[in-house]
C-alpha cells in the first residue's frame, strides 16, 4: 500500500530538499537576471539588511510556526488537513468582525475574545472534515481542501463587498480598535507578541505529545490505527480531535495575523499560510520543536527570494517553485535505500 505512507522525512532528506531548493533558485535567478551575482547576494543577505526586513521575516515565521504546528499535529495523528488556506482566512475575518463589533473593552479581554473567535472558526471548519471521516469514512484530505477552496472566494467577496472600508484605497475591512493591537517588539517592523506565543504553543504541544497519555495515544493512532484500536484506544477521538486542534491552530494564526500585523482583514492577505504551513511541518518532521527552526528556514528562503526578485528582470512565483521543490524532495529517500539496500527493496525491484 502506498496510500498512506508515513509523511515523516528523515534529516538527510530535509537537507537534500533545502539544498535542491537552493540550487533551483540559483538556476532560475541566473536565467531571469542580467546580474545573477547581485541577485544571489540579495537572496542571502537581503533578509538581514536592516531591522525592518529582519523583523518582518521573524513575524512571518511566527504565523508559520502556528500553521506548521497545526499541520504537523494532524499528520502525527495520521489525518491530513489540506484546508489550511481557508481556515486561516476565514478565522482572520471572524476575528476582525468580532473585534469590530465589540464595545470598548480592556485590551486583554478583547484579545482573548479575538483569539477564541479565530480558533473556533478554524476548529469548526477542520472539525467538520474530521467528523465526516469519523461518521462516514469520507476522505478528510479531499473534504478539508474542498471546504477551504469553497470558502476563500466568499471571504474575498465579503472583504471586497459588504464589509469593505470605503475610506481606504486598499481592499480591506475597517481597522480594529487600537487597544486590541498586539505589542510591537521591533518597530518599525511588524514583529509582535505572536512570536512569543507561537514558541510557547510549540513547547506546550511538544509536552502534550510526548509527556501525556493523550499525546501517546494520538501518536500511536497515527502510526497504526488497527493496532491502536485493538489496544483499546478510541480511534474516533483521535480522528476528530486532531482535526479540530489543527483547525484551531490555523485559526490562531489568522487571529494573530489580524491583531498583530494588519489590524484588519485585507483581500488575500493570508494567502499561502496554509500551504507554507505544510512545508514547515514537513521540514520540521512533524515535531513541534522542529517546527520552530523549520519556520525560520522557510521564511528565510521566502524572504531571500523576495529580496532577490528585486534584482531580476521579471517577477515570477519563485516562492511557489521553492515550495514545490521542497515538497518533491522532503519525503523522498534518495540516499538511504541506495546505501543500505534492505531486503524489502530487493523484493520490490
Amino acid at each position: 500500500m502506498v496510500r498512506r505512507r508515513s509523511p515523516y522525512g528523515n534529516l538527510t532528506a530535509t537537507f537534500i530538499a533545502i539544498g535542491a531548493a537552493l540550487v533551483i533558485t540559483f538556476i532560475l535567478l541566473s536565467v531571469g537576471s542580467k546580474n545573477p551575482g547581485k541577485a544571489i547576494g540579495a537572496f542571502f543577505l537581503g533578509p538581514f539588511s536592516n531591522t525592518y526586513y529582519l523583523g518582518n521575516m521573524l513575524n512571518s515565521a511566527s504565523a508559520l510556526i502556528l500553521t506548521g504546528l497545526g499541520v504537523g499535529l494532524a499528520f502525527r495523528a495520521g489525518v491530513f488537513n489540506l484546508g489550511g488556506e481557508g481556515q486561516v482566512y476565514v478565522s482572520a475575518l471572524a476575528t476582525t468582525m468580532i473585534l469590530l463589533r465589540l464595545p470598548a473593552l480592556p485590551g486583554v479581554v478583547g484579545v482573548v475574545i479575538g483569539v477564541l473567535a479565530g480558533c473556533a472558526a478554524g476548529a469548526l471548519l477542520a472539525g467538520l472534515s474530521g467528523l465526516f471521516k469519523q461518521l462516514w469514512g469520507t476522505d478528510e484530505l479531499i473534504t478539508s481542501f474542498l471546504i477551504s477552496a469553497a470558502l476563500v472566494p466568499t471571504v474575498d467577496y465579503l472583504i471586497i463587498g459588504p464589509l469593505r472600508n470605503q475610506k481606504s484605497n486598499l481592499l480591506t475591512t475597517k481597522e480594529i480598535a487600537s487597544q486590541y493591537h498586539l505589542l510591537r517588539l521591533l518597530p518599525p517592523s511588524h514583529l509582535n507578541l505572536t512570536l512569543i506565543i507561537a514558541v510557547l504553543s510549540a513547547l506546550l504541544l511538544f509536552f502534550i505529545l510526548y509527556y501525556t497519555v493523550w499525546g501517546y495515544e494520538l501518536r500511536l493512532t497515527g502510526l497504526n490505527r488497527e493496532f491502536s484500536r485493538y489496544g483499546g484506544i478510541s480511534i474516533g477521538v483521535y480522528t476528530v480531535m486532531p482535526m479540530v486542534l489543527s483547525g484551531a491552530l490555523h485559526g490562531a494564526a489568522g487571529a494573530f495575523t489580524v491583531m498583530g500585523t494588519y489590524h484588519a482583514s485585507i483581500s488575500g492577505f493570508t494567502s499561502g499560510y496554509g500551504w507554507n504551513g505544510i512545508a514547515v511541518a514537513l521540514i520540521g518532521r512533524n515535531n513541534p520543536l522542529g517546527v520552530i527552526p523549520a519556520a525560520l528556514i522557510f521564511t528565510y528562503l521566502a524572504a531571500g527570494a523576495n529580496a532577490a526578485l528585486l534584482h531580476t528582470d521579471f517577477t515570477f512565483e519563485l516562492g511557489a517553485i521553492i515550495q514545490a521543490v521542497i515538497f518533491f524532495f522532503i519525503t523522498a529517500q534518495i540516499w538511504v535505500p541506495r546505501l543500505f539496500p534492505s531486503r524489502k527493496a530487493e523484493v520490490d525491484a
Partner: protein, 297 residues
C-alpha cells in the same frame, strides 16, 4: 443548457478517466489539477508556435506526461509520500508556468494568439430538422465525441485486457502481482503516466476550446475530476454520469447568475461546494450500504 454541460463535461471526464487508472492502482492522485494545468499551458504554447492544433495537443500531452513522469519517479523510485509529491506537482505547475510564460511572452497573465484556431466541429455539415437536437448531438467540437469514445476505450482496457486486470488487482492487493512475478511499482508508474496523458488531453481540451490560456484556467477541475471517480463508483460509465452531473451543476450556476443576483466572486467557490456536498452524500450512502451488508452476513 445540455449543450453547454456537454462542453463543460469534456475536460472533467477525460481527467477523471485518467485518474481512474491511478485510483484503481491504489494511488490517490491529487496531482490531477497540476497535470491538467501543464496540459492546458503546453497546448496553447504548442499551437501558437506551430499553428497546428494537433502539434499543440501533442505539446500539452507531452508537458503533462513529463510532469507525471517526475511525479512517478519521486513517488516510486524515491519513495516520496504520494500526497506531498502530489502537492508538489500542483505547486510546480502554478510556479513554473508563469516563469516560462514571462520568459517566452513577457507576461504571466492571459495568453491569446491569433495562430490558435478553432477546434474543428465534426458534424458541421449534418442537418437535422430540430434545432435543439442539432446542437446537442451534432454541434460540438471533436473533443466532446472523442471524450465519449474514450469512456468505451477505457472500459475495454480496464475490463477486457490483462493489463487492466493487473492494474485492478494491484489496487486490491499488491501481493497478487508479486506472486505472479510482476512488479507493482512498474504498474503504478504506468498508471501515473496514463493519468498524465489523460490530464494533458483534458488540459488541451480546456484551453484550446477557449483558444486562450488563463492563469489557473483549471480552477479546481482536477479536484472535481478526482471526486467524480468516487461518485462514479470507480467505473468509466459512473465517471461519465458524475462528470455530467457536475457539468450540469456548473452550467446551472452560470444560468442562475442571470436570474438571481449572486456575486461573481462567490460563484468561484460553488463548484468546490457542490463537490464536497456530493462527496459527503456519496460516503453516507456507501457507509450505510456497507453496514447493511455486514448486518445480513
Amino acid at each position: 443548457m445540455i449543450y453547454n454541460a456537454l462542453e463543460i463535461m469534456t475536460p472533467l471526464l477525460i481527467a477523471g478517466l485518467g485518474g481512474l487508472f491511478t485510483e484503481l492502482a491504489g494511488v490517490l492522485n491529487i496531482a490531477l489539477e497540476g497535470l491538467m494545468l501543464a496540459g492546458a499551458f503546453g497546448a496553447i504554447v504548442g499551437t501558437a508556435a506551430t499553428g497546428s492544433l494537433l502539434a499543440g495537443i501533442i505539446c500539452g500531452v507531452g508537458a503533462a506526461t513529463l510532469l507525471a513522469a517526475l511525479y512517478a519517479y519521486f513517488t516510486t523510485r524515491l519513495r516520496a509520500n504520494i500526497f506531498i509529491a502530489g502537492l508538489a506537482v500542483n505547486l510546480f505547475s502554478a510556479g513554473v508556468i508563469p516563469f516560462i510564460s514571462t520568459g517566452l511572452y513577457g507576461t504571466k497573465g492571459v495568453l491569446k494568439f491569433n495562430a490558435v484556431g478553432q477546434i474543428p466541429h465534426l458534424f458541421g455539415h449534418v442537418q437535422v430538422h430540430i434545432p435543439i437536437l442539432q446542437d446537442i448531438f451534432f454541434g460540438h467540437n471533436v473533443t466532446v465525441y472523442l471524450a465519449l469514445l474514450l469512456v468505451l476505450f477505457v472500459y475495454l482496457i480496464l475490463y477486457r485486457t490483462p493489463f487492466g486486470l493487473r492494474l485492478r488487482a494491484l489496487g486490491k492487493n499488491e501481493e497478487l502481482l508479486t506472486s505472479r512475478g510482476l512488479s507493482p511499482e512498474r504498474y503504478r508508474i504506468y498508471a501515473i503516466l496514463i493519468s498524465g496523458v489523460a490530464c494533458g488531453l483534458a488540459g488541451s481540451a480546456l484551453s484550446l476550446r477557449l483558444g486562450v490560456y488563463l492563469p489557473n484556467i483549471t480552477a479546481g477541475r482536477g479536484w472535481i475530476a478526482l471526486v467524480t471517480i468516487y461518485l462514479g463508483y470507480r467505473h468509466p460509465l459512473g465517471i461519465l454520469a458524475a462528470a455530467f452531473f457536475f457539468a450540469v451543476m456548473e452550467s446551472l450556476a452560470g444560468a442562475a447568475q442571470g436570474l438571481i443576483h449572486i456575486p461573481g466572486t462567490v460563484l468561484l467557490g460553488v463548484p468546490y461546494a457542490v463537490t464536497v456536498i456530493a462527496m459527503v452524500i456519496y460516503s453516507i450512502v456507501r457507509h450505510n450500504r456497507l453496514r447493511r451488508q455486514r448486518l445480513y452476513r
